[in-house]
């Protein structure tokens, strides 16, 4: 087991290095000189030359590449122009917020996805199954940014201003303006309220995919001999579904975690922008518009590395829960 883990970890190293390489050459071989973005037009050539030397841009690309990788290995991702701080500090500020949002979306998506998929499979070809299929496919086809706007429209703006409902959810930020004056319980409630709409926007689309997958997986298991045996033994339906079928049907769902993490991160880019959520996705989008390349490179690298790690964790989890997988 330990050997298996170590080998998988070692296998991920060249992958991460390769990703870093792609990002570096993408940004550095692009046309245009980053120094010209920072200087006012009409400065003398000496100033431009000095600036290029300051950034190390006067050196050939392969030297810059080696230096960049070397610095990155020691945790130095450079200096952010727009935040005037080291990139690592900026990323560490924004990372927890993204993780809170992603984690709550993942939990909601998997919980509801698994429940709905199981219900569909148990009641295959019923009216409930087919109507759920249609609704889920509708959500599955939905751009998350549009869903976010529709949720804001109905559950925030209209609920509060037009319909005058007692319950509505805030449409932006992580906390209310009066957050500092709230009690401890009030603070938690305030944070949860702010989390509802962004989580739903991310989770509903993912949930639809998970439920579709879960339905298929469950249907495959239900057809197998051991389930028929369980039925034949006269076990109650509940025991057969939950103890025999569901446990086995959940196995392939684990691989979905690794598969859906990239989708989730792509989703956070929109959702964080729309809900003014101070996370990594919004940070990268803003950095791109401000041409803050160190942040873009580090952010993209961070995201890609997290995807690799998530896939690794999913693989290991799979090996742990499924005894049929051998560590070779």
């Amino acid at each position: 087991m330990t050997q298996f883990v170590v080998r998988r970890l070692l296998g991920a190293v060249p992958l991460v290095l390769g990703i870093a390489t792609i990002i570096f050459f993408l940004v550095n071989l692009a046309p245009g000189d980053p120094t010209l973005l920072l200087l006012s037009p009409g400065v003398t050539d000496e100033v431009i030359q000095q600036m290029r030397e300051n950034f190390g841009l006067d050196q050939p690309v392969h030297i810059r590449y080696v230096k960049w990788v070397g610095a990155m290995l020691t945790g130095d991702f450079g200096y952010s122009f727009s935040h005037s701080r080291p990139v690592v500090d900026v990323l560490l500020d924004f990372l927890p917020n993204t993780l809170i949002l992603s984690a709550s979306a993942l939990v909601v998506a998997f919980l509801f996805g698994i429940v709905l998929g199981t219900i569909q499979a148990v009641r295959q070809y019923s009216a409930l199954d087919s109507s759920l299929s249609v609704v889920l496919l509708f959500f599955y086809s939905m751009p998350s940014f549009w869903l976010a706007l529709m949720l804001i429209l109905t559950m925030s703006l209209y609920a509060r201003n037009v319909w005058g409902l007692p319950i509505y959810f805030p449409a932006s930020g992580m906390t209310s303006t009066e957050y500092e004056f709230l009690s401890a319980a009030g603070r938690i409630a305030d944070r949860v309220r702010h989390l509802v709409l962004p989580t739903l926007s991310l989770a509903l689309v993912l949930m639809a995919g998970i439920a579709r997958y879960m339905r298929g997986s469950m249907l495959e298991v239900v057809r197998q001999d051991f389930v028929r045996t369980a039925h034949a033994k006269g076990l109650p339906e509940r025991t057969v579904v939950f103890k025999h079928a569901l446990r086995n049907a959940l196995l392939p769902i684990i691989t979905l975690v690794g598969l859906y993490i990239p989708f989730l991160f792509s989703g956070t880019v929109f959702i964080e922008t729309i809900f003014a959520w101070p996370g990594m996705g919004r940070l990268i989008v803003e950095a791109i518009f401000q041409r803050d390349y160190p942040v873009v490179m580090a952010g993209a690298f961070f995201f890609a590395t997290m995807v690799v790690v998530a896939n690794l964790v999913a693989d290991l989890l799979y090996a742990v829960v499924d005894p049929r997988i051998r560590y070779e």
Binding site: P14, L15, G18, I19, I22, I23, L26, V27, A30, P31, G32, L137, F138, Y140, S141, M142, P143, F145, W146, L149, M150, I152, L153, L157, Y158, N161, V162, P262, F263, F265, S266, V269, F270, T273, I274, I284, V285, I288, F289, R291, V296, G299, A300, F303, A304, V307, V308, N311
Partner: protein, 389 residues
């Protein structure tokens, strides 16, 4: 397909075909497609009927625009061509098909025939295909249908952010432009980008995947490690990084989408080729000394194509969402060119006052993508022999 004039096939031995109804031809001359629907071939029939009725309706209600189109802009000429060929094709097809049905004796049934049969039994998938065909037809003849010019700004004092009315079916936006017309013109972007980008990526992915699977060894290792890397990127981050470095334009987006989506296709094809390579017909081809290029292109690729077609259809839906997302962030199609993504984005600032701005373009995206997903699901069931019932 036989030509209707070949009398040889009119052998008396063929029993009377129940799908041939007396009067079918006469009916098809007036309403092409209707006789096909009446005998149960509703998918193709509805397609022909939809085209015919739609084109006639355009011809009657927009006669002036159709007559002027011959000397108009390029999109008007395309619309005219679509109109004429749609009318001719649906009429001729229906006339010939209803007369020919039952005459052709089926000798051998290929896997593709079986797949077509299984697909046409799947009602939701056929409905999805009809919606897609309708969308493409509408976007081709948009210059005739659109009630207003998509970029004309009407009176900013009286026509700005007006709700739905007969004059503006879906209201107007913050620049007093007609939302319905912009929606129609925006369909061009979404529908063409999805198709072209997926076309590029499927071609590259199939070839590289087949090469990797066939040759194995170092070639396989190099290609697949690169595939692993690209797949590990959250796709949107990769796209916005590339697009932000260059200037956003429609050609850049198509190229970048095409060049970044191929790895998943390559993975699928490689897997298929690895198992096909061990099969007897490929070994026979190798033993016969066929060149490797021929084995890959003629023996391996066609047999690995079924899952690729499914993935490509579902990929078109994803690409449409992706393009809309890029446009939403301002990194896609640049204003004033209408696209569904930018329309959703521009409605964001007027959500409370003008809910229709973001809602309708978004619904258009959802229904388009939904149709592609329905067709993709139907294709998967139809192309997989194990799933055919």
């Amino acid at each position: 397909m036989s030509s209707p004039s070949s009398g040889v096939r009119d052998a008396p031995a063929i029993p009377v075909d129940p799908t041939r109804r007396p009067g079918g031809r006469a009916l098809s001359a007036v309403l092409p497609g209707l006789p096909q629907i009446l005998v149960g071939r509703w998918g193709t029939g509805a397609m022909a009927l939809m085209t015919w009725v739609g084109m006639i309706a355009i011809l009657v209600t927009r006669t002036d625009r159709v007559l002027a189109a011959g000397s108009g802009a390029w999109d008007e000429r395309i619309a005219l061509f679509t109109l004429v060929s749609g009318l001719v094709a649906s009429w001729v097809w229906s006339w010939r098909e209803i007369g020919e049905a039952g005459r052709l004796t089926t000798v051998g049934v290929s896997q593709w025939d079986l797949a077509v049969r299984a697909f046409s039994k799947n009602r939701t998938a056929v409905a999805g295909l009809l919606v897609i065909a309708g969308l493409y037809l509408v976007s081709l003849v948009t210059p005739f249908i659109a009630p207003h010019d998509p970029n004309t700004q009407y009176d900013l004092l009286t026509d700005r952010l007006v709700g739905m009315s007969a004059e503006h079916p879906l209201g107007t936006d913050q620049f007093a432009r007609d939302v319905f017309s912009r929606l129609l013109y925006g369909a061009r972007i979404s529908l063409s980008i999805g198709f072209v980008a997926v076309g590029i990526s499927v071609t590259i992915g199939t070839l590289l995947g087949a090469v990797a699977g066939f040759f194995g060894g170092i070639v396989d290792g190099a290609i697949m490690r690169f595939v692993d890397m690209v797949i590990s990127f959250p796709r949107l981050i990769l796209l916005i990084t590339i697009i932000a470095i260059f200037e956003p334009s429609i050609f850049l987006i198509i190229t970048v989408l095409g060049l970044t989506l191929w790895p998943s296709t390559a993975r699928i094809v490689r897997g298929e080729v690895l198992s096909l390579r061990e099969r007897e017909f490929v070994q026979a081809a190798e033993a016969l000394g066929y060149p490797k290029k021929r084995i890959i292109l003629r023996h391996l690729v066609p047999n690995a194509l079924a899952p690729v077609i499914v993935a490509a259809t579902l990929g078109i839906g994803n690409t449409i969402v992706l393009e809309a997302g890029l446009s939403f962030l301002g990194l896609g199609v640049q204003p004033p060119t209408p696209s569904w993504g930018t329309m959703v984005a521009s409605g964001r600032n007027n959500l409370l006052g003008a809910w229709w701005l973001s809602t309708f373009p978004g619904l258009a995206i959802v229904f388009t993508v939904l149709s592609f997903n329905l067709v993709g699901d139907g294709l998967r069931d139809a192309l997989d022999p194990r799933l055919r019932s």
